[in-house]
């Protein structure tokens, strides 16, 4: 009884201290709210554009409105989560990193046992019609964990830090590889490689990472025939590959038909023959509707996001937030570029969707969480920079007062008095 009482008291004290810290931080929320509302307005506009695209792309399907309605619900839900992510300080994530990591990593392994298999990959939790993909939701946790680890190990020699960082990423990707979800694995691998490079990896270490990565790809090709078929279809080799080529060919037809200005109301549409035109092929469907002129802003937006993250990393980043900014930039823009490359026929089909635009609750939620995390870190970095500059100004010694000029002194004579 005494033990239970003591544990309960400790838990109560911890929760009370936490609540006090959050209240203290929220008390100074005025500046943040201003930024938050601007962010919400922008993301709501982009997300709504995505819902409209989904609505148009699902023309002719039996469940046409269902996708766009669900996407709008997820968008509103996600903006609430973005608010929470933005309003909580990053020290909150640092303090509770153990709980966050345990939960997320547990979900990644748990899906292998309790998850539902859809299209060959056991990647989803399904509960009464509600689906959640833990490998997507693990992305912001991965960024925080990697950044924390890199800062925590800053006294280690670089070789050891690099090896441990690569091992950490490998262990994180292991349950995703076992699902198997090759598209998401590729995004994580790309993010890790870019982070290690930007944090100081040399060319020897690049090769040390690339060699096992190539070995992994070869293993995937040998172990999973459908992966091999996709590669062979892309390179145009091998027998009857019509099933695999179909999606790529129909996407190509959409892009050609769209031309420069698109055909928003033209019939018949080519995109009705494209599989997964509401998520994996949405760029091709959008290109047919809006043309090159209409989808060019999407490409510029993806470039703009990674540019913004690079700017933050270059100008305002602390040692903890530097990997967060770059990782967020690569994760979202890299995913978008892979999606675009697949739709344009520059890569084999991967099943990767377009962040913020494609239908998918988990992906939309993750995108908004990452944006919220980046904005919060940027806001705190700027506040710290501003306060450190203010301290530097305050602590500069006051200039000595000039001695008053007395008539007849040499200085007074010099000044003409």
């Amino acid at each position: 009884m005494a033990t239970i009482f003591i544990l309960a008291r400790l838990a109560h004290e911890k929760v009370t201290a936490e609540a006090r810290a959050i209240r203290r931080d929220l008390g100074n929320a005025t500046g943040r709210l201003h930024v938050y509302f601007r962010l919400v307005a922008l993301l709501l506009a982009l997300g709504s554009a995505g819902c409209l695209l989904i609505q148009s792309a699902t023309r002719g399907m039996a469940s046409q409105s269902c996708f766009s309605r669900l996407q709008m619900v997820w968008l509103l839900f996600g903006l609430t989560f973005l608010g929470a992510c933005f309003l909580f300080p990053r020290s909150f994530y640092k303090r509770h990193l153990g709980i966050i990591l345990s939960l997320v990593y547990g979900l990644l392994w748990g899906v292998l046992l309790f998850g539902t298999k859809i299209q060959g990959a056991r990647s989803w939790y399904r509960f009464h019609g509600f689906c959640m993909q833990p490998s997507e939701l693990a992305k912001p946790a991965f960024l925080i964990a990697f950044a924390w680890f890199w800062k925590w190990a800053e006294k280690w020699p670089f070789q050891a830090r690099f090896a441990a960082g690569a091992l950490f990423a490998g262990l994180w990707m292991l349950p995703i590889i076992l699902q198997p979800d090759w598209g998401t694995t590729m995004i994580y691998a790309l993010t890790t490689l870019v982070l290690l490079y930007c944090l100081g990896m040399n060319w020897r270490q690049v090769l040390a990472v690339l060699v096992p990565a190539l070995a992994g790809i070869s293993w995937a090709l040998a172990r999973h025939p459908y992966v091999r078929r996709r590669f062979m279809a892309f390179f145009g080799t091998g027998g009857d590959l019509s099933a695999v080529c179909w999606q790529a060919m129909q996407m190509r037809d959409c892009l050609i038909k769209g031309g420069w200005t698109g055909g928003l109301f033209a019939e018949p549409s080519s995109f009705v023959y494209v599989p997964y035109r509401y998520n994996d092929s949405i760029f091709a469907a959008a290109a047919e509707l809006l043309g090159v002129a209409g989808v060019l802003p999407l490409i510029l937006l993806c470039l703009g996001w990674v540019g913004y993250c690079c700017y933050l990393a270059g100008r305002h980043a602390s040692r903890w937030t530097y990997p967060v900014y770059l990782g967020a930039g690569v994760m979202l823009s890299g995913q978008a570029f892979v999606h675009l490359a697949v739709n344009l026929g520059l890569m084999p089909t991967t099943g990767i969707n377009l962040p913020l635009i494609s239908y998918g609750g988990s992906s939309l939620l993750t995108t908004l969480l990452i944006i919220g995390l980046v904005e919060r870190c940027a806001w705190e970095d700027k506040q710290e920079e501003a306060s450190s500059m203010a301290i530097a100004v305050v602590s500069t010694p006051a200039p000595r007062e000039k001695a008053p000029l007395v008539a007849g002194t040499p200085l007074a004579l010099e000044n003409g008095e």
């Binding site: 298999k117 870019v194 490079y197 930007c198 944090l199 100081g200 019509s242 099933a243 179909w246 060919m249 190509r252 037809d253 892009l255 050609i256 038909k257 769209g258 031309g259 420069w260 018949p268 080519s270 023959y273 599989p275 290109a287 043309g291 090159v292 989808v295 060019l296 490409i299 510029l300 993806c302 470039l303 990674v306 540019g307 690079c310 990393a313 270059g314 530097y322 770059l326 930039g329 690569v330 823009s333 570029f337 675009l340 490359a341 344009l344 026929g345 520059l346």
Partner: protein, 233 residues
């Protein structure tokens, strides 16, 4: 030293942006090339000649499995070979001659003298065919369009099993081709055991015929199994 490390990090961050900028240029170039240089006329012509057809295929009913793993009841897909005899005798005789050239089909055809009684009707040539029978492939490849296959299910039970009395009977729903439990465990757990209709969409365009929404049998359409150790008889 610290300053140079930070300067290197900042430089590498800008390298990243340059790589993405080059990628964006490549993507835009590809998009512009597809929009501008590839002729849209042939593509439009092919798109105009697309044909699509939907096929509804009934899924197999689930199995009833004993606690020790013996399969007590299962369904097998069988095929019935049908010939829609033409309305006129001359056409029927001509088609019969054409079908007789298929080695496996020849012995199954009705005699020429019996054709007048079959005109305009559907005649069963053979039933209880399975996927391993060669005649299915010959018919699919060579037979005229009036020769068709009709799929159905046959419910099999394990002979001599002590649980046989509990299993019950099924009947075939002619409209959908699905089996429906009418007594015993088959009726009680019909919602779990019953298969579902699967839609397979066939699309053909100027390049090739293609099956869209292709799903393997194991993933959807078939009913779920029940295990006697988990359910109360």
């Amino acid at each position: 030293m610290r300053r140079s490390v930070e300067e290197r990090r900042i430089r590498r961050a800008w390298h990243l942006l340059i790589v993405f900028a080059v990628g964006a240029v490549v993507l835009f170039g590809r998009l512009a090339w597809l929009a501008h240089h590839v002729s849209g006329q042939q593509e439009a012509l092919r798109a105009k000649h697309r044909v699509s057809q939907e096929l509804w295929i009934p899924g197999r009913r689930g199995r009833i499995v004993a606690a020790d793993g013996r399969v007590l009841a299962w369904s097998e897909r069988r095929f019935r070979l049908l010939w829609r005899v033409p309305d006129t005798l001359s056409e029927a005789l001509a088609e019969r001659t054409e079908c007789a050239q298929i080695q496996e089909l020849a012995p199954l055809l009705p005699a020429a003298a019996a054709l007048p009684t079959c005109l305009g009707r559907e005649v069963v040539l053979e039933h209880d065919l399975t996927l391993s029978d060669d005649i299915l492939h010959s018919v699919s490849a060579w037979a005229p369009a009036t020769v068709s296959l009709h799929a159905y299910f046959v419910r099999q039970t394990l002979p001599g099993a002590p649980e046989s009395a509990l299993l019950g009977e099924v009947e075939l729903d002619d409209e959908h081709g699905l089996e429906r439990g009418v007594s015993g465990l088959e009726k009680r757990y019909d919602q779990v055991l019953r298969g579902r209709l699967v839609c397979l969409r066939m699309i053909a365009d100027g390049r090739q015929a293609m099956v869209m929404d292709e799903k393997s049998e194991g993933e959807r359409g078939n009913g779920d199994d029940i295990h006697l150790g988990e359910v109360s008889p």
